[in-house]
Amino acid sequence: MSIKGKAYIAGVYEHPTRHAPDKSVAQLHAECARGALADAGLTKDDVDGYFCAGDAPGGPMAMADYMGLKVRHLDGTDSGGCSYIIHLGHAAEAIAAGRCSVALITLAGKPRTGGAPPRASGPEVDFEAAYGATTHNIYAMCALRHMHEFGTTSEQLAWVKVAASHHAQYNPHAMLRDVVTVEDVINSPLIADPLHRLDCCVVSDGGGAVIVTTPEIARSLKRPLVRLIGAGEALKGPRGGKSLDLTYSAAVWSAPPAFAEAGVTPKDIKYASIYDSFTITVVMQIEDLGFCKKGEGGKFVADGNLISGVGKLPWNTDGGGLCSNHPVNRGGMTKIIEAVRQLRGEAHPKVQVPNCDLALVHGTGGLLGVRHGASTAILERA
């Protein structure tokens, strides 16, 4: 069974806050849910499927009860920051199978003012936890190996941040709205060699929500029609330490089934939301998604090629996690939301891609250089 065209994104909402000392995490989830329902033109009582991940206090059961939802389908799949893109595919499966008709996906949290929820540890904990793995140094290890094998440079990585900053200048909610140069990035302090401060995304409070529904319900609403036509998910880890290769991500497995299901290729994509936890994350994923050959991601992103209206792949036109928003250190939700804005023609006019009718959303979750998930979704304007 294919999910192609069987589920539509009827509502999206990105919380405008980036700093929420006076709110609870559950409250932020509910505010995002309200926002997405209002965007769709639906009400809480229309929701019969609920999806959330590790950022949701108490998981799907507790949060569904908190919000007063009466649902017949629950999914608490957690794969870090890409969970919400996975939820998009899972919601489409549930809708196609008749398990629900209005699916709500929420993300929210406040790592700036309340601390991030601890990362769950698995059977590896005694063999890894003591070594001080953080997101910074784990992604940095990928960057160093990528540089070693392919000659990727810090300047090339910096172009990713430069592109994000060009887009963020038009986003009034973005945390960092100043346009930066390659020199600004490589002259910012080293955090974890070879990644500099400006190679890293922001830390923000906030959240977002998405409403996925049936074609019939979507057509009954007043919003532009955006549908899911392909989805894939995958995971990658050291797997016993055999043939370790940190130069590629699980996108090499999540992307092909998504493209195949959609019946499109990377060349057809007009806009891409690609999770930008760090600059290296984008370079590796662009290769793994098939936008260029392995090892050529550095060249691909250089010279403004990710800047809307300038380069060949308009990307993260809201400013992404690098400049705008990165709620709960989980970037998947905001990637979906900006792709929907682009497909609706509701992105900022300065970054709106003309005739944007096909978009890719992709993210990783967990730690790229240890074990991580990946999810790819292809969205189309109907």
Partner: protein, 130 residues
């Protein structure tokens, strides 16, 4: 000066107890599957490659080379170097590089195991071979 890093004691469990017992003797153990012959790390009772339960403990020479690393600058206990070592026996493992000039580390550099104390069993770290 920053405080010296302290390392959390491994909690251990029934499956990994022999590893930590050997660590107290200064020995680094890996697991090998008698069915598919593949070694792996961190140790499991069931082989992650062929799913056989015929896995046995094997002492590693504790020698290998640096696959990749990163020097973490933002740390209350001072910079530290996390990285992967590929052991001579084959498996790669996550570790820290210690007792060395962190700025002199290089991919491909030869390293050997050194154990550092915790409140429980000692933990394996690696240091460049001079």
């Amino acid at each position: 000066m920053s405080d010296k890093p302290t390392y959390p004691a491994p909690q251990g469990n029934a499956e990994t107890k022999p590893f930590w017992d050997a660590a107290t003797q200064g020995k680094l153990l890996i697991k090998r599957c008698l069915s598919c012959k593949e070694p792996h790390y961190f140790p499991r009772s069931i082989c992650p490659f062929c799913f056989s339960d015929a896995t046995v403990w094997e002492e590693s020479a504790g020698e290998g080379e640096i696959y990749t690393f990163s020097v973490m600058r933002k740390s209350p206990t001072g910079p530290y170097a996390i990285g992967y070592v590929t052991l001579k026996e084959g498996p790669s493992l996550l570790t820290n590089f210690v007792d060395c000039d962190l700025m002199g580390l290089k991919i491909g550099q030869k390293v050997k195991v050194v154990f550092k104390p915790t409140d429980g069993a000692p933990l394996p770290f690696f240091t460049p071979v001079t």
